[in-house]
């Protein structure tokens, strides 16, 4: 089946944050209700950007940046959520298979079988997974964007686009076949370059084997706060690709070796015994 993806065009986005709300609306991330008694849990921190970070109930948030290239102010908006990498660090480290590649390419998530280990939190090059965690007991559950494939809330299987894409008024978000979106993204980048945005680029086409959320940007990714050339960390590779396989091999060989040893040693001892018995008799 053709891989699906989301194309985010930062040059079209007006940061109305419909996506931020629609994500919560659809995915029922409304358990937390601030009350007058416990105080509204959010404060203005000198910015339009809020809440301050992604959280187990905020899978998508808009970022606001003020930059002044050549003295003229620009207000840049950026979508922050799971990038649904092909080479996904989170999937690589997830011990339970709760994080897995959906047959349409993106990183789906089965919260029921999450063990709460927190490996994905540290392995994600984009710092996306967030946890609800009990500090003492370690009881935890991860949450992140599931590309609207949460069981029971699976829009993709139902044939609908993700909630964020659906709600985007200026069509800054598009959903479709990844190949087509790559082509569309490149077309838009060319148009931007023709307009004089010489640093325009399509982010996510190649990064980490290809992201399933791609960005049309009119400036360097770094200006938008995106990691330039994101990589799976050395620790992840050393751990998952070197040490774990070694562990499997060593563990396996040891068990096989011990079994072999048992058989040989037993046979020998029996033979010795027989010899002794024979000698005795």
């Amino acid at each position: 089946m053709a891989e699906k993806a989301i194309l985010y065009d930062a040059t079209r986005c007006t940061a109305c944050r419909g996506c931020q709300a629609a994500c919560k609306q659809w995915n029922e991330n409304d358990e937390f209700i601030p009350t007058v008694e416990n105080g509204v849990q959010s404060v203005n921190r000198g910015s339009y950007e809020n809440p301050p970070d992604l959280s187990p109930t905020t899978w998508l948030k808009m970022e606001f940046r003020e930059v002044t290239p050549d003295g003229k102010v620009r207000w840049l908006f950026n979508r922050r959520s799971c990038m649904h990498c092909t080479d996904a660090g989170c999937v690589k480290v997830c011990p339970s298979g709760a994080l897995y590649h959906h047959e349409l390419g993106f990183v789906a998530y089965d919260k029921d079988i999450c063990t709460g280990c927190g490996y994905c939190e540290d392995a994600c090059p984009f710092d996306v997974p967030r946890y609800e965690r009990n500090f003492v007991s370690g009881i935890a559950k991860m949450d992140k964007c599931t590309f609207c494939t949460t069981p029971g809330l699976d829009r993709i299987a139902g044939g609908w686009e993700p909630a964020c894409v659906k709600t985007c008024p200026p069509d800054a978000l598009q959903y479709g076949d990844r190949d087509q979106l790559v082509a569309e993204g490149k077309k838009r980048v060319e148009a931007l370059i023709a307009k004089g945005w010489t640093n325009a680029n399509l982010y996510g086409e190649k990064e980490l084997g290809g992201l399933h959320v791609m960005y049309v940007l009119d400036d360097h990714p770094a200006v938008y706060g995106l990691p330039v050339d994101p990589q799976i960390s050395a620790a992840t590779i050393a751990w998952q690709d070197v040490i774990q396989p070694i562990g499997w091999v060593v563990g396996g060989l040891t068990i096989l070796g011990l079994g072999f040893n048992y058989l040989v040693a037993r046979a020998n001892i029996n033979r010795e015994k027989e010899k002794k018995d024979a000698a005795r008799s």
Binding site: G97, T115, G138, Y262
Partner: protein, 216 residues
């Protein structure tokens, strides 16, 4: 009645068993994250709760033991780091010995033979690694940088592989190996037969019996 010598004191044996049980629990609750496909067993974090309870026991047990058995601790630690040319001889002779029961070339061993001392060293070192990396992962999960936490997992994992493998060996030798007939008894009852002691720990037997009457 066969003559017996005391191999392990009672506190040492208690420590061993407490540690063994907690480590086995730690091992198994860790193993579910290590083996793909077993991870589902760990869903909803219940293995982590057990892992943490066991970890507390695993760390507390030596902390209680050490001040109460200061001399034995010192001696033990010293032993873990006492290595000599004889150990090479043991390593050379070990395969023939463990597979064929052929004692040719096996140098006389102290309280712990080379293999046991290797295990003991690994227990000490990996124990420290487990404790440090585990505590960081437990208490600094939300504060430490991701890279630090990832390396903590890495070293926890390395220690897990090394210690886990050796644990299998240890259990195998203690329980199942046809020659290790009294190792079980040593750590269970605390004593071994003189015959076994002479045969397996000649050097140690000499040391403990020098100037002493052997109990009958």
């Amino acid at each position: 009645m066969q003559q017996e010598v005391e191999k392990y004191s009672k506190p040492t044996r208690i420590l061993h068993w407490v540690h063994l049980v907690s480590f086995c629990i730690l091992f198994l609750t860790g193993l579910v994250l290590f083996v793909p496909g077993l991870g589902v067993i760990a869903q909803d974090s219940w293995t982590r709760v057990i892992h943490r309870v066991a970890a507390v026991i695993f760390i507390l047990a030596p902390i209680i033991y050490v001040p109460m058995n200061w001399k034995a601790t010192l001696k033990g630690v010293k032993e873990a780091f006492s290595w000599s040319a004889a150990d090479i001889g043991w390593l050379k002779a070990a395969p023939r010995y463990y597979f064929l029961g052929d004692e040719t070339g096996m140098p006389p061993q102290g309280s712990m033979n080379t293999g046991q001392r290797l295990w003991w060293l690994i227990v000490l070192v990996s124990g420290v690694i487990f404790t440090i990396t585990g505590l960081v992962m437990w208490f600094a999960k939300t504060t430490a940088p991701a890279a630090v936490l990832q390396w903590m997992v890495f070293f926890h994992d390395v220690a897990f592989i090394v210690a886990g493998t050796m644990l299998l060996l240890h259990i195998y030798l203690g329980l199942l190996h046809p020659l290790m007939t009294e190792a079980w008894k040593a750590i269970y009852k605390g004593t071994v037969s003189v015959e076994y002691a002479k045969k397996h720990h000649a050097k140690w037997y000499e040391e403990v019996t020098r100037g002493k009457e052997v109990k009958s």
